[in-house]
Symmetry: C2
Subunit: 704 residues, 2 copies
């Protein structure tokens, strides 16, 4: 009753409030947001950076099911300004402290003819804008279905864009760099890419995080933060007006969101700067997420791991499946009576070898894929009970491996490939997590290959968003860390659930085994996919010529060997794999030393050089250690990196070990040529290593 | 390997087998089935009874996704004949022994151009035919999607039909009696019926179990048996040719079944006789189901119960909801801080009164609806996490009631209304069942009101069929009996899972509170819905004039009081409710005596008189007792029942207590007029009680 009285009172106050434009300025004064109601009483916002327009007048609001306009006929009840400047400590991260300094403007609206209430909350930071819709608890509205969100991002021109096609089921397309006006002519070909699940938008649309660069050198990144009980957003592109409009992932009935009042949308985020490095340094998305909901986080540990994985891709014959028999009914088929195929990867002896190697080389964990019943007949969509998550293959001795790994201080990472049979996964989840706990597992890699069952759903829709969040929340109850693959692109939720240590949700290293990644791929990902959170990119491939395995696969890696090292720094993640086979690390022990040394958690990060699509150079200080690691990468063009070590403490001398491309190195013709040298350095040193085409540089710096 | 060799061999043998018509005759010789391949190599069957055609030449087969014909181009590999005559003992039932005497013909087919194998297995009983399709494990086919099953039931004329409209979401329509040629003109109005969930077929279709009567007095019942991992079937009606064709419930993507070879369809059943009583006496559907999968069935107990239920319908103010606050978020809302509405039915004191009354009157259990959090805001389809199944309302003391009920020897029946949020129910299921076990519950009434979430699904589709079966199977692991409401119509699965003690799945007594049942309703249900298994019809309403409750509800019961008594015998169920309020039973203690006395499990049943839509008279011997109970009912027409007691042991004298309609009794004008008399009877006695319009007679017979 108290709440209703309050709303009634503010409504009356609201009648007197004029609806003129209102502005908000960022703490450093460089960003300005304006908000007003149009003549049709539509909410309109715009954003400028210094003297430049970033977002022109853009509409906001919703169409509700079936075709009801909830984006016009509003009046402003009340506007509330506030500001906040705090610092928080992430459980793990690129920096050990994060500042959250913003100004806030809360606009409370009422739609005249319905008396329905809608709030819009803007937060303006020095590095960009976040805003979200809020649906307060109210008398006349409780449940509604969103047919579409009508949020516009009206751009000022035909910007350069780093984009993948709008799709409700996948984020695994290769990234295209083009002007917005060129998307329409290019998108058809990109959409032909062979992927396990695809649901292209009917309209011309592109995915977020979307990286843009204007003709006058503004860098703009559009994404979202804190995706909870809401579908993921891609962006319709009006390539005449250069206007982007939200396109929420629907279910297959065409409904986008089932909403109960007392809730909010995710934040829509616009990170902006005239220096590309600021985009990578931005913490805006993390700042817009809720603080950790996990109280005791002591069990969450950044992890470097190897695994029984890449061997399934290189064509050497190793398989996830234990048998060649495909007529499998989980729960009925007795695997002990089937003939093994003789080349099953996840067998006890082979995993023990991995555990030995991990222990010898200072890794934390070994991932094992293909350990459980069901891989022989894992048909997505048509089969529902595909896998058992508590029943190992006969040649994978769970208890013996648990003991063996524990005796060597190594964790085994569980694998739950669901093949997108999600309702069945949810049924098994409590038992599956209990099985993990009982057998010493504390991290799980989940997988969502293929189209989703329940068959009303897409990977990026509200129902699946709730699923991913539910898995992570449930996992936390069991003290399990999660690394989700093929899930919806992240939105900084790892702040709220720091056990969500990584996601894939983009084109990862596995596509290298299909000749699938372009040399500029990893110079773009940090500006796009990684804006939402860490990626389990699985770098560290030393043998890039897959024809050496003698199988049909003749794919070739798109990078030099050194660039693979550099990725451990440029592709931030608290979960980093050394993805190649043991035999290849044994061939190049000196280069492998960098992977052994490199940290996976950091006190500070320094974005030294960055241009999306061209190059990235980042230095990071290892958490709690006087050690720094630097990674520099370039696209298909050779370049000289400029690495200014002024971030080092002054007056100290350090030894740098520099892993550089060889003089004749080239990703295509000579990828494995590298030179390792050492050098004494101080905070005054500037290194200028030469990077080969699709090459890199990796540097470790330690106290002398 | 062995299996594949076998198939190869039979394939070669098959090449030599001619595809001429093959016949099968029932054990008593009265039924004849023929099978042949048409010129287009389509499988064709027909059925005759004595000299009369029942089913004319009818096609069989499938269309697979997207539009592939799997119903022609076959040849017969092999035909195998066998017969079987066994007797089995049901855990509970209308009879304590059931004979399964049938002849079988297995036709093994191969489709020429694909080499795909399809078997058709016919079983011919003295009371009808069952046949099913079998998809053997085979080399060239493993997964496929059924676009439609093309099974025909080609009838011989414009039969009288007792039908409800074809609908994928409900079986709660009122039953219409008409000629098949009249369905088209009548169905539109019936479909306007206001129901919580509806998904009418696009085509002219009617539901099974379908009861038909031919002009020459053949009674034909078409349904299915053993519905497992397959959608329920309704029947398209060609009202020119009088041909019925299977219409499987699709998902919302238009796919009917996702099939893996090594499986079968349900049996398609045709029960036929020239005596309507044989239809009710048939055990064909039970015989076609698998034997019990539950080894220890000692915990499964036929149950007579009362409950906190009817009071929610009569308009007296009692509510499922604890508060009037509707802005509820389960798991977040603290109910102890909400103001109770003061008229919540499931409060501890009220339930204790029910427990007292149950104990005083020899009942086994008390059902309590509205005990758990969530009823205030139970919006189907738009809300997913609607209820907690482990959290009681503040005024419902689970532990105290558990103790209190146990001290009186009474069980409380749990209620799980899912409001069709099924994925969420599955998430909660293990905890919900454990909560039941922890608190002394051994039976659950489940409910599926409203459209289904996952939103790709209908109530009667394959996914939901699997859900209902999964709930029952899981419940068995916890030793819990299940009574499912608004679930798919039953198909005899209670033989396989005898803990599935009852279902609703039709228009039950609750519709009486909306003036919703016709006087002939319960003279038809045993010929339609009950063919698949027992119904929790919830009879026993004594106060049929709902205006007496002082609310807006002015509905009037469609029966006399005595007919309500008779339903305890005519509507077979091992779970029987006395549905009326305690106060009404206290008003009529003499009539109530019949409900107290009547058994819920039986040694033998005798169908004395039956004509669908007109009347039913049944006598049953109580299990393990020398007691008989007789129920006779009539439609809107008064009639004299002829009750021949020759089923009684010869030479013994018994006392019959006869509950008869009063002379002026009439469901509309004088429903509560009844006369109770006693009479000495023997096996030679023939009683001829007069039944009022929509009246009945109930008789108990005990040894003197």
């Amino acid at each position: 009753m108290k709440r209703i009285t309050f709303l009634f009172l503010t409504l009356c106050i609201g009648c007197l409030t004029p609806t003129i434009a209102q502005t908000l300025t960022s703490p450093n004064g460089k960003l300005t947001l304006t908000f007003h109601l149009s003549e049709a009483q539509k909410p309109i916002y715009s954003l400028s950076y210094k003297t430049k327009e970033v977002i022109k007048d853009s509409k906001m609001g919703f169409t509700l099911q079936p075709h009801y306009s909830f984006d016009s006929g509003f009046k402003v009840i009340k506007t509330t300004y506030s500001d906040s400047n705090t610092t928080w400590t992430p459980v793990w991260g690129e920096n050990n402290k994060i500042q959250d300094n913003h100004k806030e403007m809360l606009i409370q609206l009422v739609q005249d003819k319905t008396n329905w209430l809608l709030n819009i909350r803007f937060r303006l930071f020095d590095d960009g804008l976040g805003f979200r819709y809020e649906f307060p608890v109210q008398k006349n509205l409780r449940h509604f279905i969103i047919k579409e969100e009508n949020t516009e991002f009206s751009l000022t021109g035909d910007h350069k864009a780093f984009w993948i096609p709008g799709d409700y089921d996948t984020n695994e397309y290769p990234i295209t760099t083009s002007k917005l006006s060129e998307v329409a002519q290019l998108i058809g070909k990109v959409r032909q890419e062979s992927l396990a699940a695809k649901a292209p938008t009917k309209s011309l649309a592109i995915q977020t995080p979307l990286m843009l660069k204007t003709a006058d050198h503004l860098y703009i990144n559009i994404h979202e933060a804190s995706l909870v009980n809401y579908p993921a957003m891609c962006l319709n592109l009006d390539d005449k007006e250069y206007k982007l409009t939200s396109n929420l992932t629907p279910d297959k009935n065409g409904n986008r969101g089932y909403i109960q009042t007392g809730s909010t949308t995710p934040w829509r985020t616009i990170v902006v700067s005239d220096d590309a490095r600021d985009i990578l340094a931005s913490n805006l998305i993390l700042n817009l997420n809720e603080p950790s909901k996990i109280k005791d986080t002591s069990w969450i540990k950044p992890t470097k791991y190897i695994g029984v994985w890449w061997e399934y891709f290189v064509g050497g014959g190793s398989t996830w499946a234990y048998t060649d028999t495909q007529d499998i009914v989980i729960g009925k088929t007795d695997y002990t009576k089937l003939k093994p195929n003789g080349h099953h990867g996840a067998n006890t002896k082979h995993v023990e070898d991995y555990i030995d190697f991990a222990a010898e080389n200072g890794f934390d964990a070994v991932l094992v894929e293909g350990w459980n019943e069901g891989w022989e007949d894992n048909y997505a969509y048509v089969k529902e009970h595909i896998y058992s998550f508590t029943k190992a293959y006969p040649d994978f001795d769970v208890q013996a491996l648990h003991k063996y790994a524990a005796s060597k201080g190594i964790k085994i990472i569980m694998h739950h490939e669901t093949t997108s049979s999600v309702a069945d996964y949810e049924r098994q989840l409590p038992d599956a997590f209990q099985f993990m706990v009982d057998n010493g597992y504390s991290a799980v890699k989940t997988g969502y290959v293929g189209p989703i069952s329940p068959r009303s759903e897409y990977h990026d829709g509200q129902w699946m968003v709730n699923h991913y969040n539910r898995v992570v929340e449930t996992a936390a109850q069991y003290k399990i860390m999660v690394d989700s693959h093929e899930a919806v692109r992240p939105t900084g939720m790892c702040r709220t659930y720091p056990n969500w240590v990584a996601q894939e949700s983009a084109r990862g290293t596995e596509f290298e085994s299909f000749n699938g990644n372009h040399p500029d791929h990893t110079t773009i990902l940090p500006f796009t996919r990684l804006m939402g959170g860490p990626m389990d990119y699985t770098p560290g491939i030393f043998e890039g010529d897959l024809s050496t395995y003698g199988g049909a696969n003749k794919a070739q890696l798109s990078t030099t060997l050194v660039k693979q090292l550099a990725l451990y720094v440029t592709m931030y993640s608290p979960l980093q794999m050394a993805a190649d086979l043991i035999q290849n690390y044994r061939k190049y022990p000196d280069a492998f030393q960098f992977i052994k040394d490199v940290a996976v958690d950091w006190d500070h990060s320094y974005i030294l050089e960055a241009e999306p699509g061209d190059y990235i150079t980042i230095a990071r200080k290892a958490k709690g250690k006087d050690e720094w690691y630097i990674g520099g990468i370039t696209d298909e063009n050779a370049r000289k990196a400029i690495i200014d070590l002024s971030f080092l403490p002054k007056g100290q001398k350090y030894q740098a070990t520099i892993y550089a491309d060889g003089k004749t190195a080239n990703w295509k013709t000579n990828p494995k040529s590298y030179v390792i040298s050492t050098k004494k350095v101080t905070s005054k040193t500037v290194l200028k290593p030469q990077l080969a085409p699709s090459g890199g540089v990796a540097i470790s710096i330690k106290k002398i």
